[in-house]
């Protein structure tokens, strides 16, 4: 199996895609790619770029989306850039599907994406990569219906599309199509090997509270007070934002997972919308992190993926990292990619983006979860 990556930081769409394609052509030396993922900053002319990719690689099954930042083995971490990874193989089957109109009917959209993509597979699906919309529908809901359509046994990896922290509009790509409110997927079957790692680096701090009123991903009250008051106690007048997620504790263990706030839902009653559902009665605590904790987690994520890799050595890596991590790391964001590279014994073609929510199972081949504030490494290779 052959992997190739291209990456350009030229803000001009025509030049950027020309550079990316030229880099990939050099690696491929004539081989025709079967599948690809494209990560593009929000300000590009996406339709133009997609047409150029399809024209260059007529056999490709392509999905992609807009980002909060991009990274690759070509340029490392960049913003306002464009990166494409393509997959070539004669034995592995790669197909793409697209579900539209998530906010109208999340189940129908997810099922139609899966149906479209599943049609051409003769063997069991090994795994799925998805890059869904982040702003119109709860990420956890999208994931639940994808799991339903695929069967819980198929692990899903990916991230929600982003728009450079503007929360205005994000886009998803499928072949030459540019959509919003959609869910594109890639399905893989055949002799492909993979493993993944996942780590975050956030720690709870301050007083715990109990969620007393909530409805799916909107939290109304904590300790019978407006949810906003819980945040304001710590953040002052500044609005809640995803670098300060809540830790949600298990009923009777000390383990927790994170839910990041998107924005204020209703300022008059003090309700907050989260990237994912928050059950009533959950014990919650605000969390914070430091640069060093974030960077240690990135390394840990790649380490974990390597330890779990089933074959000799992986041939490529995909990374999905949370936009909040970039937000806090600031000018040190480049180090995150470097940390991940540190554990690898040889440089791999790799590619990734900063997302509005990450998707991966907690354990290898376990059921898939929706995450916030997380760094996900997905290693790929052939048998």
């Amino acid at each position: 199996m052959l992997f190739a990556v291209g990456h350009s930081n030229d803000p001009d769409s025509q030049t950027a895609i020309s550079e990316v394609l030229a880099q990939i052509h050099t690696t491929l030396a004539g081989t025709s790619p079967k599948g690809g993922v494209l990560f593009a900053a929000i300000d590009f002319d996406h339709a133009l770029i997609l047409h150029r990719v399809i024209k260059a690689f007529p056999d490709i099954n392509l999905i992609g989306g807009t980002t909060d930042g991009e990274m690759s083995s070509v340029l490392g971490f960049e913003q306002d850039s464009l990166t494409l990874m393509v997959f070539c193989s004669d034995e592995v089957t790669i197909t793409a599907g697209m579900g539209r109109g998530l906010s109208k009917d999340v189940t129908a959209a997810s099922h139609s994406a899966v149906q479209q993509a599943k049609a051409n597979h003769k063997e069991d699906i090994q795994f799925c990569i998805s890059l869904p919309e982040s702003l119109t529908t709860s990420g956890a809901l999208i994931l639940d219906s994808l799991k339903q359509a695929l069967g819980a046994r198929v692990p899903i990896f990916g991230g929600l599309t982003a728009d450079q922290w503007r929360s205005e509009q994000t886009y998803q790509f499928f072949q030459t199509e540019v959509c919003s409110d959609a869910v594109p997927i890639l399905l893989f079957s055949g002799p492909i090997l993979f493993s993944h790692g996942i780590a975050s680096g956030w720690q709870p701090i301050g007083k715990p509270g109990r969620v007393t009123k909530a409805e799916s991903n909107v939290v109304y009250e904590i300790d019978d007070q407006p949810a906003l008051a819980f945040y304001q106690r710590y953040l002052g007048d500044l609005p809640p934002s995803s670098e300060y997620p809540l830790a949600l504790f298990d009923a009777d263990s000390n383990r927790y997972y994170m839910r990041a706030p998107i924005e204020i839902h209703d300022a008059t009653i003090g309700s907050i919308i989260f990237f994912g559902d928050v059950p009533v009665q959950s014990m919650v605590q605000i969390t914070e992190t430091t640069h060093d904790n974030i960077l240690a987690a990135s390394r840990q994520s790649t380490q974990q993926a390597l330890e779990n890799y089933p074959g000799q050595a992986p041939a490529a890596a995909l990374f999905f990292s949370c936009a909040s991590r970039r937000q806090i790391l600031g000018s040190r964001t480049g180090e995150e990619y470097e940390q991940a590279q540190h554990c690898l014994t040889q440089p791999l073609p790799s590619c990734g983006f900063y997302t509005n929510g990450e998707i991966a199972p907690l354990q290898q081949h376990g059921t898939t979860y929706f995450h916030n504030e997380t760094f996900i490494t997905l290693l790929l290779g052939a048998e």
Binding site: D10, P11, G206, L235, E288
Partner: protein, 358 residues
């Protein structure tokens, strides 16, 4: 005069590409800075509240004390990283821009400057030649005589060399400014180098020239340089120049502030002055003192000038970052010290001491 053979089309395309990337970077830099500031503000507020809560619940005093100490430290670190983040991003974009512009101006100026020598030679030859004619044909035909009077040949003969001389002075000055800009923005700032400190100060002054000059409302600021005999100093030249710049800009601000309350005449009788003195302290370190006879500052201000974001200036004018960054550059990056002495209404002195070898 020869010129390098580079394909101008390719060069222009390359330049346009770099320009696009730089512009995007600058656009983003501002948005990023704002976001980072807000993130850091939230963290600060969060840590404060947690410290406060720790104080409220009196479980184990010693433990609490330790924890709140740690948190206070975290808060301090945070403020510092914030300062660094914001400034690093802004400075690197600005530095790149300045270096790029300097580079672009350099080529055409050198072209003009180089060719001026030839023009000067040719002009001199022509003038000599005319003179030769005049001495051999003292009585030219009327037609030539009329033309000579019409174009004022005599004047041209004396004025042309002068004009060429002053053009040369002009290009010399541009070259000097370009050199200072490159010197100042030194893209090699990541490198530790041994340099002549005086060169750095002079470059910085040249960049600030427009603020030192004569203005309709005030005569120029006098700069008194008492340079001692200094060895070359090992430092990050770009960063050190940035510190000089911050201190000198503050001195000019302080002088301008006093001058708003004085007439042109009053200022001329008691001129605004910036004094720069350098000397070797002992064989291991150098001292650079920069003082002004400006507004000065009270004790309460002196105590806080190195705090990030502390400013007494109007919104949009002061950022409160200059001194905190200079302090950091001098103490942390160079293992030196920066002290401030000031008498309100009279004068302010900043004293930098840095080791010769780091």
């Amino acid at each position: 005069m020869s010129s390098d053979v580079i394909d101008p089309q390719v060069e222009v395309q390359q330049l346009e590409r770099e320009n696009r990337i730089l512009k995007k970077k600058l656009e983003r830099s501002n948005a990023n800075c704002l976001n980072l500031e807000e993130t850091a503000q939230k963290k600060e507020s969060l840590l404060r509240q947690v410290i406060h809560e720790l104080g409220e619940s009196k479980e184990s005093e010693a433990l609490l004390e330790k924890q709140s100490c740690e948190l206070e430290q975290a808060l301090k670190d945070l403020k510092r990283t914030q300062t660094q983040l914001v400034q690093a991003e802004k400075m690197s974009s600005l530095g790149q821009l300045v270096a790029g512009i300097a580079h672009e101006i350099n080529n055409p100026v050198n072209f003009i400057h180089g060719n001026l020598n030839h023009v000067q030679d040719y002009a001199q030859n022509l003038l000599d030649f005319v003179q030769l004619y005049q001495s051999h044909y003292p009585n030219p035909t009327p037609e030539i005589q009329i033309e000579a009077e019409e174009i004022d040949l005599e004047f041209i003969q004396t004025d042309l060399p002068k004009i060429l001389d002053s053009m040369k002075m002009g290009t010399d000055r541009i070259r000097q400014i370009v050199l200072s800009l490159r010197n100042f923005s030194r893209m090699d700032e990541a490198e530790f180098k041994t340099v002549d400190i005086h060169e750095g100060i002079d470059s910085t002054l040249l960049i600030l020239q427009h603020r030192l000059k004569d203005k309709p409302e005030s005569p120029s600021i006098q700069v008194i340089r008492n340079y001692g005999d200094l060895p070359l100093v090992a430092c990050y030249p770009g960063q050190l120049n940035q510190a000089f710049m911050n201190i000198l800009a503050n001195a000019i601000d302080a002088l301008e502030e006093v001058n708003t309350k004085r007439t042109y005449e009053e200022i001329r009788e008691n001129p605004s002055q910036i004094t720069i003195e350098t000397s070797l302290v002992d064989s291991t370190s150098v001292k650079i003192s920069i003082s002004d006879n400006g507004i000065g500052m009270p004790e309460s201000v002196q105590q806080r000038i190195f705090d990030p974001f502390f400013t007494t200036k109007a919104v949009g004018k002061g950022t409160g970052m200059g001194m905190s960054i200079s302090h950091q550059i001098i103490t942390e990056k160079h293992g030196g010290r920066l002290d401030c002495f000031s008498t309100p209404g009279k004068r302010t002195e900043f004293m930098i001491q840095i080791p010769v070898h780091h």
